[in-house]
Chain length 694, copies 2
């Protein structure tokens, strides 16, 4: 049953400072613009807590805040509220690219300044007598779609430099929601590349974010994540006792065990809780974007979403190699072939992996062997760049680092300058490693700083970035719109060689509601040859040979799994003469509007997006191992206008298990009054372009 | 699409011994009677493996076998097949009680005798030159519903006594199935009392059995478990790398780190793999029963399934205490009240907890304080036993041990003799502890031996046993039919006080397909007062007050969750004047036939059972947080006969969240041609008695 919504009057960029006027002693509160979500900050027995209610009912119970340091007493107890400041903000802004063009950033903000020593609540607690009282500000922003808060440590005599060993921020839930999760403590080259599990929050141990939660009554959906991770350690979450409903921030550490080193003034990333009534309201997820600073790039004309193909899949199915030799993929001749294909089909980019020296031998271990400027002898970088340019295509330059950050940063500026001089404007980076230089965790502050330096250096050279084995996306594409897309989850490549037989049919229906809420994913859809005979290790077992998808589902992924750099992942020869390929040629990569029409996490999802700067809509629906019929109203179309729907559907008796290829392509007129019946095969999907009738 | 079944001719108790006639060098094979499942035992490079195919397709890939010892070389490599023996068995037998009356035990057996040293495969491998070659037999039985295998170590000079530190048995799956699991490595008083999670097998870490697996294509369901755990450590399972599809046996250890101590001749429990095409074929699960020795109790007339009530729930909702004092539950007066209620309503038993001295103070820590013969002063044990007997009711005597095994065994025989002398024939034991005496794991061989001693001592005294915080059920009720039921999973009590807010609506729909496949569960259904204000720690939070169920679902649980000792768990006053209570009065507890009509793990299940010795059927259907309409044919009824269905359904607008109580009770005529439409509310259920029309 729907809950009443109350609407407050909108105040445009109203700034108001209040003296310490506390509604209740030791308690201050801020509400979302629609009033449904309230955050209360309180001090109880010297401990600072925050709590969240939704429609008057507890969502997050009073939860702990604070830090442990290596070099000073913790921020934990013995604190009192000294001051508060409030403001309201309401602004529309336009993204250079995205799932939506315009974003409304509307929030109520409360900044709570807290100081050691208990004067406000009448107690004298903590070490205020022994040293200078420290102070910090907890800044909270309440939006209609969620809340965020961060710590701000101002410059102050008692706190100049610091070393955080643990962040004590907790999230104690009133409910015991179901979580879709991947663990954060399993060893692997990139620990985000895992299938998902589901279970009660009370049993979670160490998990990654974004963490998607479904309430027991299915009336509230939450996503725990962070925003604006700029100079801090990545946050994971750890659970407590097996009947507890509390998760605590779990920061990645550097080689010496310290999580974060800093100097005041200092701000942490935002800890965010997205809130929705329906699962279909979770996407497009804009909360993180709204909490990042505005764009630092004045002129974004050079930043252009694109579709691309690449010398890449061949290496995963063992018909080509990264390294030199008779099967070397990155040769001049092969690359020309790819450029020709890209040009003939309207693709903006050609990724070439294995073009640069350093791949021979154990390239994961020998991370310092990579050169980012020296091609292999059989790869004519300048010649190919020019060849491509003449055909309206650009090479995407691959920079695999293997976690050799020093080796990469040493060469980065000259490499980027080289690419820029050749008219190249995009790179794909990689971090195939468990620990980066210095034994630092892949997600440590050390790595975070590096990733920011890469984005900024790339921006200086007019280069767009696609990061594989990355940090998780925390919305930095708002500030740096050249930070296009990243991997950071288990993508298509696992269908080539994974030891467990490949992705499961449900996988993308979970990704959509979890990983993709953080930001775009370079999933690399579009494999047409669904019977993979060989992996890098040799012949696959027959049972593992098939990719667990239908062909139509591969097309649908272009709409469902958002990426501004979107790959047609297969070998070009597998697209030749395939009518279904037309959808990939036609599908847009930049969007004005996005609507989730229907879906259930782990079961299915149907998404509609309108192309930016155009009138066409694209619709994609995918299902798990179970076939499904959806009945979707097209009421997002402009009323009164006539459209043609070009439908790519699973063919008769299509089935991911043993008959994945049949695709039925039809056209039919539709309007905003049409209800479209979409029959999805088991493991199947449907992709539709809805263009204005001529 | 259904798979062809081939039927072999049945051979009744045919025994055939073959000389070492191997189909292929180093490979021997046995098939299920219907030929669909084949187990192949092979030696490759001196390593013994087994593999399983189903309809010619790999199910379990060649998987490792063996042991590590503390005191001798491992059984791992350097082995050869020396001899094989085969037999076929086909026998119908009758259980004294159960989900079904008659069991068909039909299998093909292969016993493979293996010896150290590689003569059979032409190699000389292993230590055969240095010590006496050891030998053992791998005995496999292939049934139509699954397979089991165990190790048998015959008496032999090279292997007299041994100490196993690790069992190397592995289960390497061809598929990457979805598993419903509870972890085996979380600290808790009884580590089986957890909510379930679901996820791919490749990501499992340490989990308990029975482990239920659903294949990626949903065409095969498997359950991994063990049978006949008599003198060994309990087996859990541990996963490997995160893309591996292998689980390994993970034995519980004793205080000194040894898993199993034994002397030859010795047999291990059976490792079992139940196999079904449909999830509804998993229950009733009989594979474990078929692998246990026949009944050791000649006359089972005294063993009688019953419904019972108890002085129990009051302590969980904090209106009574176990210990002495003003709220002591186990008083003579209170117990008389319960006996009166039981007699008036046809219940066979009254459980009384807190009757015996030892509950005052920290009873979990002070395990040796319990007396099993001395009542509290306000509890007249002999008087109450006689009072009950006169009314046709028996007291069920509670024996909480807190893991104080020595204290219990010291008193056990005199306690059982005392109960027997009072005409009492049932006990409920408890093991609220993390480690038992001696620091042994709750599931160690030490504990296993103890549990067997309890069953046998109880049998000697004509006593039925209900074990809480038990070992998992491995089918020993076939050999000891006084071993009635046990807890060993998270039951109703968690709705009284759990820190995470109580059981989730889906919980029982998972239990049915997991825990209940091992054997009966004393879940204790039937709470009518669904708003629980207080737990032991004080007032519950309002959000946690409601039990996440409807009333009709509580009734359905009497049919869905099988137990031969089945409790009406609430306070008698909450049943008074409740029309819905009639179903509990009427429902049977012993069954002739069981059919799973429909279901999905974690979503819903509908079960029909025919009462033993009667003509009535009982039907129970439950759903998770989502309402559901089921359309079920009653074609299990006898054709041509007229029946009356007495239906207890969720009332209008019933909902687990805010309106759990409405129950609509109706009657209607039905026949075997009827299709019954069952509307289940969110978190709801439906219970039906179908009795012959008069």
């Amino acid at each position: 049953m729907p809950r009443p919504r109350r609407r407050f009057a909108l105040c445009l960029a109203l700034l108001s400072l209040s003296a310490a006027a506390l509604p209740l002693p030791g308690q201050v509160r801020v509400a979302s613009p629609d009033g449904r979500t309230q955050v209360t900050v309180a001090v109880a027995e010297g401990r600072l807590t925050y709590a969240v209610t939704r429609d008057g009912r507890p969502l997050v119970l009073p939860s702990r805040l604070g830090f442990r340091f290596a070099d000073q007493p913790p921020i934990d107890s013995g604190w009192a509220i000294r001051d508060t400041a409030r403001l309201s903000h309401d602004e529309w802004w336009t993204q250079p690219w995205g799932e939506v063009a315009r974003v409304r950033e509307q929030y109520n903000e409360l900044a709570v300044t807290v100081e050691e020593g208990g004067q406000a609540d009448g107690r004298t607690d903590g070490p205020s007598n022994r040293r200078t009282a420290r102070r910090f500000t907890l800044r909270l922003r309440a939006f209609d779609d969620g809340i965020g808060f961060r710590y701000e440590l101002p410059a102050q005599p008692g706190l100049e430099s610091f070393a955080i060993t643990e962040e004590l921020t907790q999230f104690t839930f009133a409910d015991n929601p179901r979580a879709w999760f991947i663990p954060s403590d399993r060893p692997r080259m990139d620990r985000s590349e895992m299938l998902y599990s589901a279970g009660p929050l009370s049993l979670l141990r160490e998990v990654q974010t974004p963490l998607t939660l479904e309430s027991t009554d299915r009336r509230t959906y939450l996503v725990l994540h962070e925003a604006d991770l700029a100079d801090y350690a990545r946050m994971n979450l750890k659970g407590g006792c097996i009947e507890c409903r509390t998760l605590q921030a779990d920061l990645a550490r550097m080689g010496d065990g310290i999580a974060v080193r800093g100097r005041t003034p200092f701000v942490t990333p935002w800890r965010t809780l997205q809130i929705a009534d329906r699962v279909t309201d979770l996407a497009p997820s804009l909360l993180g974007l709204k909490l990042n600073p505005p764009s630092a790039i004045a002129n974004t004309d050079w930043i252009t979403p694109m579709k691309y193909i690449g010398i890449w899949w061949g290496m995963h199915i063992n018909t080509m190699t990264w390294g030199s030799g008779p099967k070397h993929g990155a040769t001049t001749a092969n690359t020309r072939r790819y450029i020709d294909f890209a040009a003939a089909n309207g693709f903006g980019g050609v990724l070439v992996e294995g073009w640069n020296t350093g791949w021979d031998g154990d390239w994961i271990k020998n991370r310092n062997a990579f050169s980012f400027t020296t091609p292999y002898p059989d790869y004519d970088l300048p010649g190919l760049a020019a060849y491509a340019k003449a055909k309206g295509v650009k090479l995407i330059v691959h920079n695999e680092t293997s976690g050799g950050i020093r080796n990469y940063e040493r060469q980065m500026d000259s490499a980027f300058a080289l690419y820029q001089s050749l008219g190249l404007d995009a790179i794909k980076t990689g971090y195939v490693t468990d620990t980066v230089d210095g034994g630092h965790d892949h997600w440590s502050q050390y790595a975070v700083r590096h990733h920011r330096r890469v984005i900024e250096a790339a921006a200086r050279h007019g280069i767009m970035v696609d990061v594989h084995e990355p940090l998780h996306d925390t919305g930095e594409r708002r500030t740096w719109p050249n930070m296009m897309t990243r991997e950071g989850a288990r993508g298509q490549e696992y269908n080539a060689w994974s030891g467990d037989g490949g992705n499961l049919p449900e996988h993308e229906t979970i990704l959509f509601f979890t990983r993709l809420l953080a930001g775009p994913m370079d999933f690399t859809p579009g494999i047409f040859d669904l019977l993979i005979e060989r992996g890098p290790g040799g012949p696959r077992r027959p049972e593992d040979a098939r990719i667990r998808t239908t062909l139509a589902k591969q097309l649908a992924l272009y709409v469902v799994l958002y990426s501004p750099m979107q790959m047609a992942a297969d070998l070009p020869e597998n697209y030749e003469g395939q009518p279904a390929f037309q959808f990939i040629r036609d599908v847009a990569v930049d969007w004005d509007t996005t609507r989730v029409l229907d879906g259930r996490i782990g079961d299915y999802v149907a998404v509609a997006r309108r192309e930016r700067g155009g009138q066409s809509w694209f619709l994609g629906a995918i299902t798990d191992e179970e076939g499904r019929t959806l009945d979707l109203p097209l009421n997002f179309l402009t009323p009164g206008r006539r459209y043609v729907a070009e439908i790519y559907a699973d063919g008769p008796k299509a089935h991911w298990l043993d008959n994945p290829l049949p695709v039925t392509i039809t056209s039919r007129p539709v309007t905003s009054a049409t209800r479209l019946r979409m029959v999805l095969a088991p493991g199947g999907g449907q992709a539709i372009r809805i263009r204005p009738a001529r």
